[in-house]
């Protein structure tokens, strides 16, 4: 399971970005392209659906760190949903849950945007 894929759909003004496979230093470039594209389209409310992501290294976390401030400055955010335990552990070890919101489902993460 060494490939990587990213799919986008939109629901009520929120972009659901579904990731699959392996996000390491080799595949981060693909995710960066997706974020650049979203920003160029003025889309700042992002829920990342990790359900199909099997592996992440700090290079992958670096991508989210690079873009989250831009999203927040424009009234949006990046929210994290449906992470597998091993993937969540990496975020947790680096202290991400203090600065980012994690949800067990995409729906709950997307609803959070509507509450505000």
């Amino acid at each position: 399971m060494e490939g990587f894929n990213a799919k986008i759909r939109e629901a009520d003004g929120v972009v659901i970005l579904s990731l699959g496979g392996t996000l390491d230093a080799h595949t981060t470039g693909e995710l960066e392209k997706v974020f650049e594209e979203l920003i160029s389209q003025g889309k700042y409310k992002i829920v990342v659906d990790f359900a199909e992501l099997n592996y992440i290294s700090s290079a992958g976390l670096g991508v989210f760190m690079a873009y989250v401030e831009t999203m927040r400055e424009n009234g949006g955010d990046i929210k994290f949903a449906a992470l597998k335990e091993n993937v969540f552990n990496v975020f947790d070890l680096l202290g991400f849950p203090v600065l980012y919101e994690f949800f067990d489902s995409v729906e709950k993460a997307a609803d959070r945007f509507e509450e505000k």
Binding site: A25, H26, S57, S58, N86, V90, L99
Partner: protein
């Protein structure tokens, strides 16, 4: 008490990180580590090799990374050797995530993970021709 000794050599390319992970996952499994510890070993080695590719070799794909894995006395020792720039890891302190976030920078996260995930981490820059990083995980 069984012992294992295996090694691989790969070109310094991010596409080889998968090969490195598969190699180490196989050795750790053979040594009898549980799933969680195998994941920790694999991630630590991925972080170490990513740093070598980016910082020691600065993405020069002609360079090589040599990895040996030795299991003995209930300890797995992974030795990673490169001939690149001597890249001193930053402090042992956990990274200040909030400050990094403001600067949109993620450097240093890998080193912190390596130290958190492994039982022992030793850098040896004493030889002018190569660098050695030893990562140890207890069964």
């Amino acid at each position: 008490m069984h012992s294992i000794k295996k090694n691989i050599k790969v070109k310094s390319l991010t596409e080889n990180l998968g090969k490195i992970r598969t190699f180490l996952s196989g050795v750790a499994d053979e040594a009898g580590f549980d799933k969680k510890k195998i994941e920790e070993i694999v991630l630590a080695a991925d972080e170490a090799c990513t740093n070598i590719i980016k910082h020691a070799y600065e993405f020069d794909p002609t360079k090589e990374i040599e990895i040996s894995a030795e299991f003995e006395n209930k300890e797995l020792t992974i030795t990673i050797k490169d001939t690149g720039k001597k890249f001193k890891p930053q402090s042992l302190e956990p990274p200040d995530l909030e400050a990094k976030l403001k600067k949109r920078k993620s450097g240093g996260l890998g080193v912190h993970l390596i130290k958190t995930l492994m039982d022992k981490v030793e850098y040896d820059f004493s030889n002018p021709d190569f660098n050695i990083l030893k990562l140890v995980k207890k069964l």
